[in-house]
């Protein structure tokens, strides 16, 4: 399944359209499922659904970073990850407050996704037409990134607050300062996979497995935050699931590294040069 290469339109084994569908559907369904179960059963045990849902969005975002940055944006990888979360946080606050004023938290995620998609596309058009990046997949990639950033922030915010209400998220996530870890861990989950695997022999599956791994680590962090906002049981559950996800995918990542590397040696002198 591994298809390598980096320059110009990153060849990939997994179709970006399919990954986008998995990412969007997975994260939206996960967030709704968590929110409905939480409110129907009057509990907050299912908050971890939000954190798992965010990982779907992260994988989609990491793939978008990979596609856009394969056009030679080496040092711009961190910037584009931060851009994704920057666009995302605006979309989340906008969507949640509109849903609140419409009187139904249920509309929130849909409004956020649509707004983030349009917003990202506009940013992509500006990047291509005004700043003249001239990257063919820029508009599409930015729309993906914006939606991924927004849904990742929403998923983790839900994981910390346990509801999708605007007031609750402001109180539990923004006023406590937990938004800091969502923002930066989410940003790194989207940008780190491609950044860490940058190089001519980068492979898509390795990059995406790295994304899930970092997403699991971010889930550990939101689990710690959830201990304070939702109590020990819900927080620890999230923390443990995050750790298990991280551990499983770290092992898988190491397997892929051993598959792709020129050699993994215990120790040794410099390898012979290949020119």
């Amino acid at each position: 399944m591994s298809v390598g290469g980096s320059a110009g339109g990153a060849p990939s084994a997994y179709d970006p359209k399919k990954l986008r569908m998995y990412g969007l559907v997975g994260s939206i369904v996960g967030i709704y499922l968590g929110a409905i179960l939480n409110s129907a059963l009057d509990t907050n045990v299912f908050s971890f659904f939000g954190a798992v849902a965010a990982i779907f969005a992260v994988v989609m975002g990491a793939n978008a970073v990979r596609r856009v940055c394969a056009y030679g944006i080496g040092t711009g990888v961190p910037s584009i990850g931060m851009l994704a979360l920057g666009m995302g946080i605006i979309a989340v606050m906008f969507g949640l407050s509109v849903a609140e004023s419409l009187g139904s938290w249920f509309l929130g995620p849909i409004i956020i996704m649509i707004y983030a998609g349009v917003f990202g596309y506009v940013v992509g058009v500006i990047a291509n037409k005004v700043i003249k990046f001239n990257i063919p997949v820029m508009e599409e990639g930015n729309a993906d990134l914006s939606m991924a950033g927004a849904l990742a922030i929403l998923g983790w915010s839900f994981a910390i607050s346990g509801t999708l209400g605007y007031v609750d998220i402001v109180n539990d996530v923004l006023m406590t300062g937990y938004i800091a870890i969502i923002f930066i861990a989410g940003g790194l989950a989207i940008l780190h996979p491609f950044n860490a695997n940058l190089g001519p022999d980068e492979t898509q599956d390795r990059t995406l497995v790295n994304a899930i791994m970092v997403g699991g680590l971010a889930m550990v962090a939101t689990g710690i935050a959830a201990i304070a906002t939702q109590g020990t049981a819900a927080g620890l559950l999230q923390l443990v699931i995050g750790f298990v996800l991280w551990f499983y995918f770290f092992k898988m990542y190491y397997k892929l590294v051993k598959r792709d590397a020129a050699a993994v040696v215990g120790t040794g002198l410099l390898p012979p040069t290949v020119q």
Binding site: S6, A180, I181, H192, A196, L198, A262, L270, T273, V274
Partner: protein, 301 residues
Amino acid sequence: MDAFSMGLIAAMGALATVAGASEDIESDVGSQSNPNSQVQLAAQVGNPHRIYNKAISGEPPANALWAATAAIVAYTLITAFQMPALFALVAGASVAALFNGVFSLSSYFGRNSSQARFNQWIYLDMVRYTTPSIMAHAWITSFCIAAISYIMVYMLPIPHPFPMPIIALIWGLAVGAIGSSVGDIHYGGEREFQNRQFGCGLNTMLSGQIVRKAEAGLRNSIDNAWFCTKFGGPATGMAFGLTVFLDNWRTTVFDPVTQASFAIAMGLFFIVVMVIYNNYIERSLRKKYGPYPEYKGDIAA
């Protein structure tokens, strides 16, 4: 202003100095940030090496992550479990160091396996002895930054209105930015091109031609940390320490609400003094060492 708050400001300055120094050395052990591009390029121009290649975004976002992680853990332990502050900060820094280890490992593995066609190997012994060193430095940085945030939010007479994790995030970004612009030059410009004439600048044809062999054996990343501890680390520490100290000093001496204009004027004064001083340093350096000669081929060492 009282003696207690002045003491706190001094403590924050001291913590920031340590944080700056350890941040720079942490990034140098792992070859993060701008020197990383040369380490990355080395294998591609036919110089496979045994130097750690840790590309965790730029330094600002990476350090923001460690600092924010330490702060959320500490904040959670303090607010939810009423733990003592020092214990909570230590626990937070430990979690941050573990996060740092995971990110470091994954980028060393990832970057080097993406250079398979240039025969860049992955050395597990290097991973085993270098990663703990990186994590240890990240521990110090995140502990100091989280402690500064704690002091600002819970101990100063006029507490900062932002929550602790946000302040840690901002200081993390700041220490990363300062480490990247102040200290990394020492590693990237001097250490990686130690065999070239001092101050010759980086000619394009030297890209990737980094020093791979040490005084004895092969150069490793711990050697680079040893070198950078002499100047790059302390310089970064001084820059970040002064930033934290002077910035908090002016808002402690002058009340930020009633004497805001004095505090702003003091900030502007600091900036003017620093611009003049930097200009003086630049001029005296150019007089002593410049103008640099044109590149006339390699000079035998």
